[in-house]
């Protein structure tokens, strides 16, 4: 933002110096004035701190570089999708929770899977012991997927599936489930997370090493471009990077760096960038630092748009857009005085909305203690509804655009991200930087720095290092997983294996093995295997045998 003439410029400089003197002379509170991520903050931001050319750096909503939002109308046409992540126990139990959420006004589904599913093991594998149905729903077969979606017509909902290593297999189950319901894959809408790079970096549920995993991802992009055109093929996720301890700038930088890698891989696989880039979506954390988070969302849109257009040569404006889902920060919740988490989540959700999110999950107050109860989930959903309906914030697009502070933070985050892009390039790209453990070490360093700041009291957490109420047990009711779920899953799988046409299943697995050795599209083979009633673990075993296991680099 520039000044109109030199005389007013001189007046402004004098006025600023005067304010600065008054400020310097005054007594200040003895706390650290920095963002949650530890970036220093000035007490005041003025036009000269927010250098930006409105036309070049901000633009208008729905137009390059999308800093102000991806749609010309934003929430005036359509509110964000309220999408609560849910999944626990058996497919039948999660199906009931899905229907409960839809009945209370939720507008999209989001599936949490248990760890065996996330790692590509059937519920009856030895490694699954004790984990079945715990952090999400157990889905080992097409039959389980059909139970999960029973009574929910797939052409009428959009479904997000948080799964990565075995993502193409779960997507195959979903496509096959649609076909069994009589739904053309062209009508399926939803997202599969399918972002393996951040698994190696932060979330740690992988299946095979990076190169074959990336090949499967380009197979998904190619297959969906032709046959499931409304499906978001990757949800490039910063959420887990942030939850693992990164700063806001690291979340932004590593997420986008991963995104650029998927784009490179898609192009290298012979796809046209505009064929697949419009179906890439994003997933960010919304943490407690209100303004830094809003700036992060704005910076993400601007950086992606510039790189996609100017470096990757994308011509379709949809390829330039960061459409994103947001989840409030799980790590910001405290086990102490858990009801306070409702307030934290509300502020984080508000930041996501002011940052222009396309969909939103609000955490439940009890998630540091167990999976959420129905009551806690309902309050979390109602929090979004209050933001949408009562506080009048959804009427104006990018309401903080032009704020000197927010523009300055947007610039800072863009610059910090750019420095990381250069460092990653210097290390040979994001795959190499991950295999070297560089990204993991950066995240760990930030996690340790934050913990130290909390312990020395320079970052405050109500109920933890200030306003402490002393030792007490949880004051709220907890949700428990019935151990019978694991046994019932074992029985269901045993029945499935004895009921199905064994030779057909064997043939389908053989076809996958052949495709692993060659270049045929693996997702196509997975869909055929799903129809042949092959289980997740059986398909994943073929992949592990053909491609090997991923080995975590030692960073500690």
């Amino acid at each position: 933002m520039t000044f109109s003439d030199s005389r007013s410029n001189v007046r402004a400089v004098d006025a600023r110096a005067e304010w600065q003197r008054a400020f310097d002379e005054a007594k200040k509170r003895g706390v650290e004035f920095s963002t949650l991520s530890g970036a220093a903050l000035a007490p005041l931001y003025a036009p000269e701190d927010a250098a930006c050319d409105p036309e070049r750096d901000l633009g208008y909503p729905g137009a390059f570089p999308f800093t102000r939002g991806v749609h010309p109308t934003m929430y005036r046409s359509r509110l964000w999708t309220m999408r609560q992540f849910a999944g626990f126990g058996s497919a039948r139990q999660t199906n009931e929770r899905f229907k409960f959420l839809l009945a209370h006004g939720q507008t999209g589904l989001s599936t949490a899977f248990d760890f065996p599913t996330l790692m590509g093991y059937d519920s009856d594998h030895a490694h699954a012991f004790g984990e079945v149905g715990q952090v999400g729903v157990a889905i080992s077969s097409l039959e389980d997927m059909q139970t999960l979606m029973s009574g929910i017509p797939l052409q009428d909902v959009s479904t997000s599936m948080t799964i990565n290593g075995p993502a193409p297999i779960l997507l195959a189950f979903y496509i096959a489930c649609g076909e069994r319901q009589g739904v053309d894959p062209k009508l399926l809408r939803g997202t599969v997370q399918n972002d393996i790079l951040k698994e190696y970096q932060a979330q740690h549920a992988w299946l095979v090493p990076a190169e074959p995993a990336l090949r499967m991802i380009t197979d998904v992009m190619g297959y969906c471009a032709r046959r499931v055109p409304q499906w978001n093929t990757i949800s490039i996720s910063g959420y887990h990077i942030r939850e693992a301890g990164s700063t806001a700038a690291q979340e932004l930088a590593f997420t986008l760096a991963n995104g650029f890698e998927y784009v490179r891989r898609g192009i290298a696989a012979g796809l046209d960038v505009d064929e697949f880039a419009p179906r890439l979506s994003f997933f960010f954390d919304s943490h407690l630092d209100f303004f830094e988070e809003i700036a992060k969302f704005r910076a993400a849109r601007r950086i992606w748009a510039r790189k996609l257009r100017d470096e990757f040569g994308a011509k379709d404006p949809r390829s330039w857009m960061v459409r994103f889902h947001t989840q409030t920060a799980g790590v910001s919740l405290t086990a102490q005085q858990p009801e306070n988490n409702i307030v934290r989540t509300a502020f984080e959700a508000l930041a996501a909305v002011l940052g222009g999110t396309q969909s939103l999950h609000t955490n439940s107050m009890d998630e540091t203690l167990s999976l959420p109860t129905e009551k806690a989930v309902k309050i979390a959903l109602r929090t979004q509804q209050i933001i949408a309906e009562e506080i009048e914030v959804a009427h104006v697009i990018d309401p903080l655009g032009g704020s000197y502070f927010v523009e300055a933070q947007t610039n800072r985050l863009e610059q910090e991200a750019e420095r990381y892009f250069q460092e990653i390039a210097r290390r040979g790209g994001v795959v190499a930087a991950t295999e070297q453990g560089y990204i993991q070490r950066e995240i760990h360093r930030s996690a340790v720095a934050y913990q130290a700041a909390v312990e020395r009291g320079s970052k405050k957490v109500v109920g933890v290092n200030c306003y402490v109420e002393g030792q007490q047990g949880p004051t709220i009711e907890l949700h428990k997983i019935d151990p019978a779920v694991e046994r019932e899953q074992h029985e269901r799988l045993a029945r499935l294996r004895s009921r199905r046409d064994a030779s057909k299943a064997k043939r389908a697995l053989g076809d996958i093995r052949d495709a692993c050795k060659g270049t045929d599209n693996l997702l196509e083979r997975f869909v055929a295997a799903a129809h042949a009633e092959c289980t997740l673990g059986e398909i994943a075993d073929v992949l592990r045998a053909e491609f090997g296991h991923y080995k975590e680099p030692k960073i500690l």
Partner: protein, 142 residues
């Protein structure tokens, strides 16, 4: 083992749980408090954890689970340690563990489990005090 030798701690991640922020943060903090810390890495079986504990002859085994599998896996690690004659190690851990489960695991030999929000300083001090107590008792016996 002398009373003054460095405290040796194994920080373990049993099961399929991928949440390692807490485990790694605690591991780093214990190192900063002068302890010798071995971190197993992710996705370890109870058997593998006990094996490393025995090979490294640790004083302390600290486990971290945030996936809800603690009631299945913590007792297994304890059983595997006992099998290897490592029943004397100080057993601790943390994660998303409801209070009543903490109490049940305490009865099964887990001296203390820590929940979210615990200062790493408290964990380090507690480990030091417990290990010194045990070493003192061993010293008196011999």
């Amino acid at each position: 083992m002398t009373a003054n030798s460095k405290i040796r701690v194994l920080v373990g991640k049993p099961g399929l749980d991928g949440h390692d922020r807490g485990a790694k943060t605690v591991a780093s903090a214990l190192r900063d408090h002068g302890m010798e810390v071995i971190y197993t890495g992710l996705h370890q079986t109870p058997d593998a954890i006990a094996e490393i504990a025995a090979q490294e002859d640790v004083d302390v085994v600290g486990l971290s689970i945030l996936s809800g599998a603690h009631m299945a896996l913590f007792p297994r690690v304890k059983a595997e340690l006992d099998k290897r004659g490592m029943g004397h190690v100080l057993l601790t851990g943390g994660g998303i563990i409801p209070l009543e489960d903490m109490e049940a695991l305490h009865r099964q030999g887990y001296a203390r489990l820590f929940g979210p929000g615990t200062p790493t300083e408290d964990i380090a001090k507690w480990i030091r005090a417990e290990v010194e107590k045990r070493r003192g008792a061993e010293g008196e016996q011999s």
